[in-house]
Amino acid sequence: MIMAPYESQVLTTPFHPRTSAYCRTNHWANWSGYTTVQVYTDVQLEYFAARNSAALFDLSPMTKYDITGPSAEAFLNRLLTRDIRRLGVNRVAYVAWCNDDGMLIDDGTVFRFANNRFRLCCQERHLPWLLDSAFGFDVDITEVTESIAALALQGPTSCAVLKSAGFAGIENLRPFDLAEYELHGASIHISRTGFTGDLGYELWFHDRHALDVWDALMEAGRLYGITPMGSQALEMTRIEAGFIQANVDFLAGGRATRPGGNLRSPLELGLDWLVNFDKGHFNGRRALLAEHQNRTSRFKLVGLDVDGNKPANDALLYDHRDREIGVVTSAMWSPTCKKSIAIASIKHHVDADHAGIWADIYVQRELKWRRIKATCRVVERPFFNPPRRRITPAGAH
């Protein structure tokens, strides 16, 4: 059923009949024009399901582009900073792409279904950029956001749930592997990927199968503690996993409307490992190479362990001489690490280990405001990194 835009300001996802039934808080959010759940029942409950049993997340509003044709690989190689020639069939890669100035436009994942058949999933919409990048390449680009439904099943029992739902051999899927399954006549692509930094899978299928798949998973997961998870709990797992988020940790789209250098290059976001200078030309290569060779990065991304238990959201960061050196872009109290953690962008020249970084945090208790100077230590990301995330065959807990 296609609704004229004037009839509905916000669309619903193919899972809406189920998500709306489970959503007891009425805590909704508008995600790229779709009605999505922020919290179903309780954010802690959902978070701990993702960490200790299994959580089911509706990620249908994720933007998806199918990229096919004889030059699909060459096109993606010119678009993305990674060497896509090295991505095998039935594999998935975390990728990033830049504008001419080498500033990050967005990050996402590329799925390789076949030699000439890819799918790019990302947060924002980029059709004009993709189409313009396709000039001179024999490639077709189709947006499939509306027709492809997607679920993320994340957590230590996620593999067991899938097995029990009938996806035989799912435990043999390695991280970033992709496989096609059939369930009740529906073709389902399952990738061992996710945004939680834990054992987990993402399922992709035509939207007409949405309710069947949801029901099958919920049924299969009953004994494994499966719980629908809203975007708030996902955000917590995302930060613990140390992933950056478009329009939170960096300005997406590659465009800024104000002066002041508000865009970030991948080198400034700790994504150096995604940039391959040896693969030939790609968008932004010249600018990134110059940045790399001339050491002109302005910022660097760091993980912080913040003293105390107060989340350092939006806090400005200072050094021991009280000079402003950066800002926290994502922060939370980690219920698993039992620490206050943060992702921050700081000036590139700062010697993070010896600068004496502190965060300027404002907290309110019973309507009384207090300012906390919380000492921060730079730590490795991910903040939480369990071995089960990588082990294959995956544990069937």
């Binding site: 835009p5 004037y6 059709l127 947006e143 789209g253 465009r255 409307t257």
Partner: protein
């Protein structure tokens, strides 16, 4: 007349009243003289048909600078703006294209015509927003003179240059291109769909004697977007009670500060003695004396009609003569016996509360411009229709409606001769027939039509050639070139005579900035 004023403002238009209010609030004894029996100039509400309020010139409120609303406390003086959501363009084949405030809803609407355009709109908006941000800062600024070596001008230039450079080198190029390119070329960079381009290009031609394919027309787009940049909710809206409410609130602010308004007082001549302006002579022979005279009239009217050329430098007179002030717009104000049906637009579509257009491609607009160039009104004109009475019951009796129809292009002369009544009627029929093509019951509902061609706009409002911006907004007439190079700082060549109308920077639209800027310069000279 015994009264002697510190300042006399000619014309109670919104800029005149704004300037006057700022002066009065600074303690300057100010009088505003207005030739009509009512105030407002082009921002008026008039009952021209029993029970109906006509916003018979300007018709929407969006551009009024927030700084001025705050300084003059306009909401307290009664200004209420009723926001509306968007606009809609009807297509030849019975379809429609609407715009919405919600980003994704708007995207989905565009995607009905082009998936690419739907997303390219983000790039387009970002660029336009960026341009608006840059321009916005110059609105309430006195343009520095690039030929002057005075510290103030040099500082102004350096400041402008610095702000320009702060955006980065690539953007500087883009900006120079944006200021010089055509709206058509600008839109072609982003969009492929004819109707989306036609819909957006409307903003680039309003009040302008340029087609969307004429170089320089891209800049005019900004004039339309400027209102949205401040992020005000419902940046576009109807002034409750019609556009006269804007003038009324300005007058109230002025009068509260002790200002005096004299209506029915047409100025025949600006009196210059010993090279200094010292008052005006009214057409009935009365003289009103003032130490400073501020003209809200356009520059041609001010300097060519109301002054002796001998009091002005020859070069200046020549430049004023060369100032481009061609009329290009007309208006129909219509009293309706009920709500007209527009079958193309779904009944629940909120966009029907905003502007409605019939120009569904850029070529449509360009062809309309070709008619203007050849000396006649557009046979298939751009019309901007609004029915404010749908949300404002003060505009029409219950069940009845007031419709404002802005029409582009309408030439100041027909094939070089003056407008005749027969032309006016033929023009009216062109517009009404065009609307009736989209609204089957429209003609039957018409109770009264007020037709305003450039002739009427000039005769009643005093806008030379009926130009609604008191001078075209082209690159050669902007910033330090507006109205003429060397006199862009609100001062005229005659001591004590100032300009505060839309002929001055930053130009037309009901934004009040020229008035506020002029007042600031006058107060500077008065050392207040």
């Amino acid at each position: 007349m015994a009264d002697r004023f510190d300042a006399l403002v000619i014309g109670a238009g919104h800029n005149g009243l704004t300037a006057a209010a700022y002066l009065a609030r600074a303690g300057v004894k100010t009088v505003v003289v207005e030739r009509n029996p009512y105030i407002g100039g082009a921002a008026v509400s008039r009952e021209l048909y029993p029970g109906f309020t006509y916003s018979n010139c300007s018709y929407v409120c969006s551009l009024m600078r927030p700084e001025i609303m705050r300084d003059l406390d306009l909401p307290r003086h009664g200004l209420q703006v009723i926001p509306f959501e968007g606009s809609v363009t009807m297509t030849e084949d019975g379809g429609y294209f609407a715009s919405y405030l919600d980003h994704d809803q708007n995207r989905r609407e565009m995607a009905r015509y082009s998936a690419r355009d739907a997303e390219a709109y983000d790039d387009y908006s970002a660029e336009v927003l960026r341009q608006c941000r840059f321009i916005k800062d110059t609105l309430l600024m006195t343009p520095p003179d690039p030929t002057s070596f005075r510290p103030r001008d040099l500082r102004g230039l350096v400041d402008l240059g610095r702000r320009f450079a702060a955006q980065g080198e690539d953007w500087m190029y883009d900006t120079i291109r944006f200021w010089t390119m055509s709206c058509g070329d600008f839109l072609d960079q982003y969009f492929e769909s004819d109707i989306i381009k036609g819909h957006l290009a409307g903003s680039s031609i309003i009040g302008t004697a340029l087609g969307p394919k004429s170089p320089g027309s891209a800049y005019v787009l900004l004039h339309h977007y400027m209102g949205e940049v401040d992020g005000n909710i419902g940046a576009w809206g109807y002034a409750r009670g019609g556009m006269g409410a804007v003038s009324k609130s300005l007058a109230a602010a002025f009068q509260e500060a002790g200002g005096v308004i004299r209506t029915d007082a047409p100025v025949a001549q600006i009196i210059v003695e010993n090279g200094k302006a010292c008052g005006v002579a009214l057409s009935n022979g009365d003289e009103i004396r003032a130490n400073n005279v501020v003209s809200n009239m356009d520059v041609k009217r001010t300097f060519l009609n109301c002054m002796d050329a001998s009091d002005l430098p020859d070069d200046f007179v020549r430049q004023v003569k060369n100032f481009k002030i061609r009329g290009s717009s007309g208006k129909l104000n219509i009293a309706l016996d009920g709500l007209p049906e527009f079958p193309s637009i779904p009944a629940d579509c909120p966009a029907r509360y905003g502007d409605m257009h019939v120009s569904d491609s850029m070529d449509y607009l360009e062809i309309a411009y070709d008619d203007w160039k050849s000396g006649t009104w557009s046979k298939r004109p751009y019309v901007d229709m609004m029915i404010p009475s749908m949300t404002d019951p003060t505009m029409a009796p219950p069940g009845k409606h007031f419709m404002s129809v802005f029409v582009q292009y309408v030439p100041p002369k027909i094939h070089g001769r003056d407008w005749a009544d027969a032309d006016r009627d033929a023009f009216r029929d062109t517009v009404i027939n065009r609307i009736a093509e989209y609204s089957p019951n429209f003609k039957d509902l018409i109770l009264d039509v007020e037709v305003r061609t450039p002739r009427e706009l000039e005769a009643e409002v005093g806008l030379t050639e009926g130009n609604i911006f008191q001078g075209e907004l082209t690159l050669d007439q902007l910033l330090f070139n507006r109205p003429v190079p060397g006199y862009a700082q609100y001062r005229s060549p005659v001591k004590g005579l100032y300009m505060c109308g839309s002929s001055t920077h930053p130009g037309g639209g009901v934004m009040g900035a020229p008035g506020a800027n002029a007042a600031r310069e006058i107060l500077r000279d008065l050392k207040r």
